[in-house]
């Protein structure tokens, strides 16, 4: 290589030389691209924050005997939100339990909702917002805005009730 003098453009010469051996060129380009692509993928994985599903954390609420049918119990969560656990008295076919858990914060303007056992609903006293046992607003300003109460899954283990919360990584 380099027999020709440097005054003439060598471009055609070596380009032709390279492209003649297509297999080598392919290997050359391919291996370089592959290696750098892999390390770039590592870098991308690096900067995208981990969103692996960590197992939800269980927080003990109490024993099932503490919340009779129609009753509810309130407790603060580590995140600062307030949980309201209610016993609807009817087994929900999806969860297999009569217990439902929601944040008691009304999505309209943040007032605290109450569980009404007889009417089987959550009532927000500020502007008479009403939510059904699925947490969906059915009356009042939150209903007009298609809002829902934030729900928390309730798990039973024997007689113990736990709320499952997502851990912040």
């Amino acid at each position: 290589m380099g027999e020709k003098q440097n005054e003439e453009p060598l471009q055609a010469d070596w380009v032709e030389e390279l492209t003649r051996r297509k297999a080598l060129l392919g290997a050359f380009v391919g291996s370089l691209v592959a290696a750098y692509a892999v390390i770039t993928s590592f870098a991308l994985r690096f900067i995208f924050p981990t969103r692996e599903p960590t197992p939800p954390r269980r927080i003990f609420i109490g024993f099932t005997r503490e919340i009779g049918a129609g009753e509810s119990k309130s407790m603060p969560l580590p995140s600062g939100d307030q949980l309201i656990v209610s016993n609807t008295g009817r087994i929900n076919p999806d969860t297999g339990s009569p217990y439902i858990g929601f944040s008691n914060q009304c999505p309209h303007l943040g007032c605290k909702v109450h569980w009404q056992g007889k009417e089987q609903q959550f009532l927000c006293p500020c502007h008479q917002g009403v939510f059904n046992p699925e947490g969906t607003a059915t009356e009042g300003p939150p209903a007009a805005a298609n809002q829902k109460l934030r729900s928390y899954p309730i798990a039973l283990d024997g007689q113990s009730m736990y709320v499952l919360i997502e851990e912040d990584v």
Binding site: G2, A43, F46, I47
Partner: protein
């Protein structure tokens, strides 16, 4: 299909005018034959490693928190929680070591082949600037981890600066952002490490490469037979650089796998460790400091560094008097041996 590409090409060319001939000429610029020797690629090595540092450094900055309460924990999180965090951090750490090694080797190559001589004196000084800035990057970077040695190393650095005649106390305050080592200093070190020093370094590297290209690569004094030829930058020298780059990536990956960067104890302002030591590239200065008073050490070190920076001028003065003098080589060898002795001395002292 081809017509579409040509159309796009034409559209671009009118908006981003590129002189084809200039590019071709630049690409096929003849490189003196001796550059085909691998020793001569040791200049490109730190440049490539610097680009590795830029990329990995930016990645690390996504997660690093420059505050004494969180700095260490954020590095810990990078190493234990973030995907490939341990890998990126280890690359960053190893590349910093390799970059300094490569710079020193390059510097010695340039020195012992007399490539600093006229008209390249300024370029030599720019190169010295690159070395000093890189050492600064090393110091600031290591301090950011906020391990025990980071904190106490920074304390010692402040004390040393204090001993500089006249401007010492002001310099120390400037480095620390105040009288003590704490949040202010960490913020400053962070700014230096990710902002000020890289900008300076990029500028110096740009000037350095421009000077190398415009002054041309120096010819060897006594060329060997097959050195007489020249060869084109593209593709030959470029491919050499690619070989080097890949070799470095492979080496860095292996080092990251086999010797991943770890974490020592977190900085504890209330507990001074038994042995405070800087990174290996400061061992020579540290040992020097132990041999005399701080002030004497600073002045002598300053003179030493000044001599290195000004060497092209000194060498020029010597050769005007005796043109074939080998004095530079002897002084260079003595300097290297001197620094090696100090470094090894300090290293051995710490081993027991």
């Amino acid at each position: 299909m081809v017509r579409a590409i040509t159309q796009v090409g034409d559209w671009l060319k009118t908006r981003v005018p590129l002189d084809q001939d200039f590019l071709v000429a630049a690409g096929s610029e003849p490189i003196p034959g001796h550059l085909a020797r691998w020793w001569w690629c040791i200049g490109g090595t730190p440049a490539y490693l610097f680009s590795v540092q830029l990329v990995t450094g930016i990645l690390l900055t996504f997660y690093y928190v420059p505050s004494p309460e969180y700095a260490y924990e954020s590095v810990q999180a990078i190493v234990t929680e973030v995907h490939f965090g341990w890998f990126i951090r280890s690359i960053h750490r190893w590349a910093s070591h390799l970059m300094i090694v490569a710079l020193l080797l390059h510097m010695m190559r340039v020195f012992f082949t007399g490539a600093y001589r006229a008209p390249r004196e300024i370029n030599w000084m720019v190169g010295c600037g690159i070395l000093l800035t890189t050492l600064g990057m090393g110091f600031t970077g290591y301090s950011l981890v906020w391990e025990q040695l980071s904190y106490w190393g920074a304390t010692v650095a402040g004390n040393i600066l204090n001993a500089v005649p006249v401007v010492g106390p002001d310099l120390a305050d400037f480095l620390r952002g105040g009288p003590t080592v704490g949040q202010s200093m960490l913020t400053r070190l962070f700014v230096f490490h990710i902002g000020a020093l890289p900008t300076v370094l990029i500028g110096l590297i740009a000037v350095h490469i421009y000077l190398v290209r415009s002054l041309g690569v120096s010819e060897l004094g006594s060329p060997k037979s097959d050195d007489a030829k020249t060869f084109p930058f593209i593709p030959d020298h470029l491919f050499s650089e690619i070989v080097l780059a890949l070799f470095l990536m492979f080496l860095l990956t292996c080092l990251a796998l086999i010797f991943p960067a770890g974490l020592a104890e977190k900085a504890d302002p209330l507990t001074t460790p038994e042995h405070i030591k800087p990174e290996w590239y400061f061992f020579w200065a540290f040992r020097w400091l132990k041999l005399m008073s701080d002030q004497a050490a600073i002045i002598t070190q300053g003179l030493f560094i000044g001599t290195i920076v000004a060497w092209p001028l000194i060498d020029g003065w010597i050769r005007r008097r005796s043109p074939d003098s080998e004095l530079s080589i002897r002084f260079g060898a003595a300097g290297v041996i001197f620094l090696l002795i100090l470094t090894v001395w300090e290293a051995l002292y710490l081993l027991h």
